[in-house]
């Protein structure tokens, strides 16, 4: 296409010039024709490709409900870290746009040290959604942080098992996820 444009720009000079030598004019005309052919070929290619590409793009949008562009669970619901600072522990997730986690399906268990105890996760208020099968539920978009505390007579948690489950807004849900994560100690 780039090579076609200069030829096309020169065309009026070649055809409209009154006092030009004929061989040079013919050469310019031939060049203009070649440019025109290249342009037409390029256009034909674009015309051929466009309907398919546009249709594919259209479907890939609805394909989020048809499956084409869905993220894997670990990309959709990224468990970022479990960080301890003093007597508080914070677990954080990054939830990709177009995806959400269910509050009621978030769980945390202590794996180490043995015998350590942990309270239930404290979660922010989520967006309430209603469904004929599942009733009311709270969901989270974007970033999410859960705060956890443990009894004074228990050792601080070092390793956790974190459970969560979520869906894509496009109408696909992911199986419950379970991940083991080490607790990072932050300076106080």
């Amino acid at each position: 296409m780039n090579s076609a444009a200069p030829d096309r720009e020169r065309q009026p000079q070649a055809v409209g010039g009154g006092n030009v030598d004929r061989p040079a004019a013919k050469a310019r005309l031939r060049a203009a024709c070649r440019g025109g052919l290249r342009l037409a070929l390029g256009s034909a290619l674009l015309l051929g490709l466009c309907p398919g590409l546009v249709a594919a793009e259209g479907l890939s949008l609805s394909n989020d409900h048809a499956g084409g562009n869905l993220l894997k669970a670990d990309q959709a619901f990224r468990l970022v870290a479990a960080e301890r600072q003093g007597q508080s522990l914070r677990i954080s997730w990054d939830i990709a746009p177009g995806y959400y986690l269910y509050r009621k399906r978030i769980s945390v268990q202590v794996l180490a040290p043995a015998g350590a105890r942990l309270g239930a996760p404290e979660l922010p208020k989520g967006e309430v959604v209603h469904d004929e099968y599942q009733g009311s539920a709270e969901i989270y978009h974007g970033s999410l942080q859960a705060a956890l505390r443990w009894p004074a007579d228990s050792a601080p948690p070092r390793r956790l098992r974190v459970g969560y489950q979520g869906c894509a807004e496009a109408g696909v849900c992911y199986p419950p996820q379970s991940r083991q994560i080490d607790v990072i100690d932050l300076p106080q």
Partner: protein
């Protein structure tokens, strides 16, 4: 020279169009996959614990619909699958519903949902592995595949079918001779 150029341009346009359409079909979740055979030996359990393989339903148009009780879109889709099974069974449609779920949870929903086709279960890891083998990399539900009587994968779908999509797909692959 001019005629040759016109033919060349027309051919290029056709090739490009075909490539574009091919890309469109590739992107579509329900795209037919020419020559792709349902992998053999994928084993799951019935709710009674007995082992089952998809080969049991060879000879029928098989719609495999993976679902779970925790999957709201799956629960929305099941009533139309129940209706389809009732309507098209005589013409050779067989729906099978592998559940990526705990068998007790599945049993508790089977009655209320009125599921009139076989439900299969397996460990979460094995079910995810089976779905991956069937082309569901992300592992989301609902996920369906349509398999011909001779074991060819005809279509895949992630997410719910609309009633119109499902009817059109099933009608397109069932013999037209017998009335539903």
């Amino acid at each position: 020279m001019r005629a040759r150029s016109i033919i060349l341009i027309a051919a290029a346009g056709l090739i490009a169009g075909a490539a574009g359409y091919g890309f469109y079909r590739y992107q579509h979740g329900g795209a037919a996959v020419a020559g792709e055979t349902l992998p053999a030996g994928l084993e799951m359990s019935g709710l009674d614990g007995k082992p089952h393989r998809f080969e049991e339903w060879r000879g029928k148009l098989l719609l495999v619909n993976f679902w779970a009780t925790w999957c709201t879109p799956c629960l929305h889709e099941i009533p139309q699958l129940v209706k389809m099974q009732k309507q098209y069974a005589a013409r050779g449609l067989q729906i099978v519903g592998p559940a990526v779920d705990d068998p007790d949870a599945v049993r508790s929903m089977q009655g209320p949902l009125g599921i009139n086709y076989p439900v299969l279960t397996g460990s979460p890891d094995s079910m995810i592995d089976i779905m991956e083998k069937l082309g569901n990399g992300p592992g989301g539900l609902p996920f369906s595949i349509l398999v011909s009587a001779d074991g060819q994968i005809l279509a895949r779908q992630s997410g719910e079918f609309t009633p119109a999509e499902l009817t059109q797909l099933v009608e397109a692959h069932l013999p037209a001779s017998a009335a539903p």
